[in-house]
Symmetry: C2
Subunit: 378 residues, 2 copies
């Protein structure tokens, strides 16, 4: 057994404000006793990868050069965004949250040896590469019959959507609202809620997204582009009793609108006037940044409200190892049903760095999801 060499994607912010993405030849070390070396066969481009990949670069300045198979992508970062990036300037950051592949070398420990030749899923960054060394204890062996594509996205979206439901139960809410609900994650959450009998209000931005979710059995779908949006949203929230929302957009007014509609649903037909609003706590978590602009809301929802950030890893840490293990077991059990992901495009590492591909996945359109197959040539 010896070290292997293979391609690895790196994203660098230079001191002069240029972002550069390249594929380097990386030497992957031999796995330690408790580690395995995995040949990455499939790794998705999730919205959560784009932040590290492109940072706050202005994609209008995108340039793709370099020789065939070794693209060099550059773009300018606005000067005002540089201070927040100080700690990554000059560092060639590997990218890629999760992936799946075959264990091609294993350390001496029994746990590592037992994985030899197995197809496994992994999380932890640096997956946009041909190989990845990872702790044996951290991989999820995939069930028989599953493909690398089946397992490539089995952490971020599955655990995030299950995490929403766990958060709902932990904080004593009865139902929930989700925005950008037609996303891969949103469709997954809809399947979980249908299966578990949980009230879910799906908020989408287009009629065709509403149709997509209804075709998948969603009971409550509200289109934010429709003229009666706030009334529809309030009705759906009243019907489900939702007092918790997860908002993928982050910027703009949508998060606050969820709180406004929750309050309107709670105080509907109230007999007593309360100048402080309903005393039922209403909570919205901003877990994404599809809209990078400022967040704005009108405080017409009393004082019993909260807004905050939500992130998968802090949630899992707070929930503890038993909950995390239970959620992972469920993902493995329902990998090709509840937690199935769908990809519109499969590309090589170099293929993920063409101007056409970047433009396509950067717009995060519904149904447009890229899978990188690092073993693919060119």
């Amino acid at each position: 057994m010896s070290a292997r060499t293979g391609l690895q994607l790196r994203s660098t912010v230079k001191p002069d404000g240029e972002l550069e993405i390249t594929l380097i030849d990386h030497t992957f070390p031999e796995p330690g006793p408790d580690e395995v070396l995995v040949r990455v066969d499939a790794t998705p481009i999730n919205p959560s990868d784009l932040g590290l990949l492109f940072g706050p670069a202005d994609l209008a300045t995108l340039k793709v050069g370099g020789p065939a198979g070794r693209p060099v992508v550059t773009a300018r970062i606005p000067e005002r965004a540089m201070p927040a990036l100080a700690a990554r300037v000059g560092r060639r950051m590997p990218v890629g949250n999760e992936g799946a592949g075959v264990v091609v070398a294993a350390g001496a420990s029994p746990a590592a040896q037992a994985l030899q030749g197995r197809l496994v899923a992994m999380i932890g960054g640096a997956m946009y590469a041909q190989y990845r060394v990872v702790k044996a204890a951290d991989v999820l062996p995939l069930p028989a019959g599953a493909t690398a594509a089946d397992g490539a996205s089995c952490f971020v979206n599955p655990l995030t959507s299950l995490g929403f439901v766990e958060t709902m139960r932990r904080d004593g809410h009865a139902a929930l609202v989700h925005t950008a609900a037609a996303s891969n994650l949103g469709q997954m959450l809809n399947r979980i809620c249908l299966k578990d009998g949980i009230g879910l209000v799906n908020v989408v931005r287009k009629p065709e997204q509403a149709a997509l979710l209804r075709a998948q059995g969603a009971a409550h779908v509200v289109d934010s582009s429709a003229p009666g949006f706030m009334a529809d949203l309030t009705d759906a929230i009243a019907a489900t009793g939702a007092t918790l929302g997860f908002d993928a957009t982050g910027g703009g007014r949508l998060g606050g609108q969820l709180l406004t509609a929750m309050e309107a649903a709670l105080t509907r037909g109230a007999k007593e006037y309360s100048r402080y609003g309903s005393d039922t706590h209403k909570q919205v978590y901003l877990y994404g940044t599809l809209d990078t602009g400022p967040t704005e809301f009108v405080r017409n929802f009393g004082f019993a409200w909260g807004m905050g950030g939500w992130l998968l890893f802090p949630f899992l840490n707070q929930a503890g190892p038993e909950v995390a293990a239970r959620l992972r077991r469920r993902v493995a059990d329902e990998l090709t049903t509840t937690f199935a992901s769908h990809y519109s495009n499969e590309v090589s590492l170099a293929g993920a760095l063409t101007a056409e591909a970047i433009t396509a996945y950067y717009r995060r359109a519904t149904g447009e999801k890229f899978l990188i197959v690092p073993s693919r040539e060119g």
Copy 2:
């Protein structure tokens, strides 16, 4: 013992959008066995009273009529604000959160009888009146030597400022930031923090407010009107380690700026780049609405953050009766020192309803605080 008649202030929203404030002759019932009848001798006009008193009325349309001693105040409520007021339309709401006075009649129970003739403080609404019937268990007998003016404000501001410190300890924060810090409440919080050795960053809007707080021993005072505000705020937060803020303004950008400065203080000199920001939780509570406009923030503080409403009574309910009793004891013990309030004007009930008085207390200027003395004529 028989029922007594006296003046009581009422605020009414009429179906046509007119707000009307009047003084009515109210018959106060005999106290029940566990109750006492208190002659209200002093009751403050707190910012938290203005919402019920004027609602969202447009004070540019203010008119004061009625005979001498019985003013009738009217103002228009913008049509868009009416739906949220549905539950109070047509109701003549009594006003006034807290007050102090002498027990002039007591129910048969020993607890009530023991209060006969005592000077007590009370909370619970309807204090803008010449009398108030209240449960014996709910009053706070004032220490010997205290006046009604000393005790009039001994719930809202004292318990709110103590509640901030309790919330800080409960949620594991080490220090706190307070905005509108030159207010009566802010000065009280400063005295508590100085006495208890707690790091406090006082945010004010004017140089003279900064000078006022510094003269009272405040170590960290930051002026939001100064050009170096964000840098000064970050320095003060770094010096204290504050990760919790209480914002009285509510609208605008100040709440978000506190989170931004906390994150900047936490990540100062960070060696590792984290695209998700610091993992230390940063929290800002909006407890007031000095700025009734929308709340806006730029999410440049990672994902470990929260914003939410904070209100005294839900806090006391959550904290439980033992904590509430401990806080009330401290208020009684330090009534004329830590928890002293200062009034710029003393007025009768009718005097609180002149155009001049309303204009003065409605602008909530530092140092301008009104005390109503209901026994005063005219």
